[in-house]
Symmetry: C3
Subunit: 219 residues, 3 copies
């Protein structure tokens, strides 16, 4: 189980790093920029969580494996971008696996470090979305997760299951599997059915036709 989790953790890092590297290539960064974005996207979530709970040096800095898989993802993307680009739908599904793993393992680690249930849930989610947010900030884009996708909510749900399981004295392994499956399923459905969260109305309620027009404009 422990080995499986470690393997999934590295798989998550690898897939997130792929997404970072692909964005870097698209923005015409040089090979160093591709590697930095790969590492940042794969590890910034976990590093931020570790800094916040006081676990220094963060796992991604203390061990070299995280760097290794990030560099691997960066190099693969740099040299074979057309291929990774063609596989991007599959990468998106793998990315959902990464989100699930990061959310449940992040929540579990926060619980182990004694955080209260609510904040442990949030830190699980942050582990899942932090890397993508830094990736977007570095290429000067508003983070996708803040405006366009049902992504963080899936992470929140997965992390929440782990924390509720902890409160109900469910064995951690079972809670993590359940949380991970829920998170993956939610995210997978969101990708398939193009689920989004609503944005706020800028003006008071108007006629239905106005609302529809407004909706179309912001699609």
């Amino acid at each position: 189980m422990h080995i499986l989790l470690a393997a999934l953790d590295l798989l998550g890092t690898f897939v997130f790093a792929l997404s970072g590297a692909m964005v870097a290539v698209r923005y015409r960064l040089d090979v160093f920029g591709v590697l930095v974005l790969a590492f940042a996207t794969g590890n910034a979530g976990g590093i931020t969580r570790d800094l916040l709970i006081g676990a220094t040096p963060p796992a991604a800095i203390a061990d070299w494996e995280y760097l290794g898989v990030s560099v691997l993802a960066g190099v693969l993307t740099f040299f074979w971008y057309p291929i990774t680009h063609r596989l991007r739908r599959h990468v998106l599904v793998l990315d959902a696996v990464g989100l699930a793993v990061f959310a449940v393992s992040g929540a579990q680690k926060a619980l182990v470090f004694g955080l209260n249930p609510i904040m442990a849930t949030l830190l699980g989610m942050l582990t899942g979305i932090g890397g993508g947010m830094l990736r977007d900030v570095l290429v000067v884009q508003i983070p996708t997760v803040l405006r366009a996708e049902l992504y963080a909510v899936a992470g929140l749900a997965g992390a929440g299951v782990v924390v509720v399981g902890h409160l109900l004295h469910v064995p951690p392994t079972a809670a993590m599997v359940a949380g991970g499956v829920l998170c993956f399923a939610l995210r997978f459905m969101a990708i398939r059915h193009d689920w989004h969260l609503p944005a706020a109305r800028l003006q008071r309620r108007r006629g239905v036709s106005d609302k529809r027009r407004d909706k179309d404009r912001h699609k």
Copy 2:
């Protein structure tokens, strides 16, 4: 006094979170983005200060109250944006209260953790401006505080009073009240009279007319 300070601290968080949520709505973020910007704006200053002085986990992560008021501010803004938008002048005054509270309590906490007077002053200011800076970076804007407002200087003055009081062995409570009042007064006057800090000249001194034209162009 202690309870009053805690109440003011949460009020500051709430008002900062309101400003973050309003920016999020204006940039058409989804409901999750609104909540993230609310939390980030309300708490990033204090979290950064706590990380820098080694107080992990930061208060805003260890307790759930900060999250609670941030989410409240986010939800209120999301559902009643037109109303919060209409109250924005009042929010601006409350924001000055938040700045004052954060600057003096931030400086006080840094002193308690043994930082030297100069850096404690700076950390007080950082507590006050850090949230707004992260808010602006997340929506890909140059932080307002860096270019358009007399804001940080008010925080610096308030934090400075606390630190000078500490050096002169004034009771902390008195120093914090004095610092908070000074900070609020400065910021309030800056809002009322539209005070700004100067920017540097890009070229050597020229005739007066050139300078005026240059000024107009950059208004």
Copy 3:
């Protein structure tokens, strides 16, 4: 030796702060923004490294000298921008000195804190490039180091020499001098001969003429 290193460290901070302040003036930030960018550019690399290795409070926060030289650089740039702007080629060479000092001292500090050789090398590089990255993010630009210059690789080489020297039990002083000289030489040559790292191809291999056209377009 120790005093020389401390002096070089402050010189590096000063030069980096100059580059931050010059960017701030160019983006029309006010005097406070100029000082913030000066401090951030001069110190963010070292602060990030210290947070990651658990050395809190970071040196740049615990001591006031770093703030002092950063403010000095900011004030000089603010009042005499035309002069610093005219000296920018010399500032670029001094910047290479700063990069060299930061890379080798950053790697050395990471080794002292027990990090493994690979991550110590990376943290040395991060010490050298972190400030410039934050500078660019704050003015909403994709960090230059990610896309346009042979800069980080020079830092990586310098830090690598320190770490290899450590593994071979070379005296730290000798390894740091060698690493610093290598880093400076690489960066200096990159400035002189306009060396760049390659970017990835967005499409599969095409005819030579297409590639040349593509190259021209992205110059």
